[in-house]
Symmetry: C2
């Protein structure tokens, strides 16, 4: 009747329109690991010409989904923040029908551990999230997940830098739905900073070409000691 114009309907439609074009969707998915990429690379990833890509990137930028960093004659685009990343990973997760079980086989490393925007995802990400929650190191509340005092102590004892762990205490984490595992892992500022700490400590290493992550032997041992479930296979 008179619920004529709700402002949120246009907000919803605006975001939808940005995602509606396969070329734009491909660009966003290419950036989901949190890296920043130049326009030309995104054009190739989307399968369109440079001019077309530029127009798409402009719209995504004005829509607030992307941020840009100019450097010389390159313009590096990245996702605006991890709210956007979480939104995209949520929408890209297959709803309804079950996820296809690894058709190519080539994405095994991706399923093991990868970055989702800037936090840890994949089997290792889900396992770490489980371990932290089950042992009460991280507690959920309505304002988000918070690292507890004794959880911080456990991380330090496991080998992380104490000052670094200290900075994690005020940060809030969010559950982020994993598209391979269909379970939650730890995202949000807490998830991002914790993943950074793991990378800097050498427990995980970035692979050169993809957004897959490779745990070091030592790092894997320490993670298992923290309670992360892991079968030796793969």
């Amino acid at each position: 009747m008179n619920d004529a114009v709700s402002p949120s309907r246009y907000q919803l439609a605006e975001i939808g329109a940005l995602l509606a074009e396969p070329a734009r969707a491909a660009m966003l998915l290419a950036l989901i690991d949190g890296t920043a990429r130049p326009a030309g690379e995104l054009a190739r990833a989307a399968g369109v010409g440079a001019a077309t890509a530029s127009a798409h990137l402009k719209r995504l930028l004005e829509g607030g989904l992307l941020a840009v960093h100019e450097q010389g004659r390159h313009r590096y685009y990245r996702l605006a923040d991890d709210d956007v990343a979480g939104m995209i990973e949520t929408l890209a997760a297959p709803r309804g029908r079950p996820v296809l079980p690894d058709p190519t086989g080539g994405d095994r490393p991706l399923r093991t551990a990868r970055t989702c925007y800037r936090h840890l995802a994949g089997r290792l990400g889900v396992g770490l999230c489980d371990a932290l929650l089950q042992q009460g190191y991280v507690l959920a509340a309505s304002e988000g997940m918070r690292l507890q005092e004794h959880g911080a102590q456990a991380l330090v004892q496991a080998g992380l830098d104490a000052a670094r762990v200290e900075t994690l205490l005020p940060l809030a984490g969010r559950g982020c739905l994993d598209w391979t595992e269909r379970r939650l892992h730890l995202g949000g500022p807490l998830g991002v900073s914790l993943t950074d700490a793991l990378l800097d400590a050498g427990w995980l290493r970035r692979r050169a070409t993809s957004r897959a992550l490779q745990p070091s032997d030592d790092g894997l041992r320490r993670l298992i000691a923290l309670g992360v479930p892991w079968e030796s296979g793969s």
Copy 2:
């Protein structure tokens, strides 16, 4: 280069295209409380003619966002499941800029308590979620939030039907972002069934016209006894 065609880009674009039209967005938002509404009512809510509305509803149906229930000469449409509802409420939440603080004043009841799809949202929803988590009645894990044994006992002691509470134990809850509070409340199957139990027990009552909920005096007392924070004002 050769990341030419990822299937998920089309999945993302498909969902985006469904949301991209203001008329369709308005229809989805009109259904966000979990009610089922006939096509004509949705046409009026979207501000389009019957023929146009029918075409939109068909697309939403084929896209898996809606379900339909035929009854006589009416066709009642509703959201397909609460994954869809959560997705929409997440996307409709204003990103970035802060949420406007109650411009009309008319949505006070909505901010207090309402249904989000079929589970409890608003200040009361956030407060209940907090109470359950802080007292360990509900624990988060990567597969979702689960009601614990002693949490079930607490609910029974507070006055809910024991057999009813029993059915909640195997259900998984999910955090659902609240657009008025910008904090999480309890959604998913667990949130839906728990809200049903509260309604059937008379702790909450539906208001006639909107999706706002009104706690009964007795119900509010029992919720506060469960640990839900509440100021007497409003």
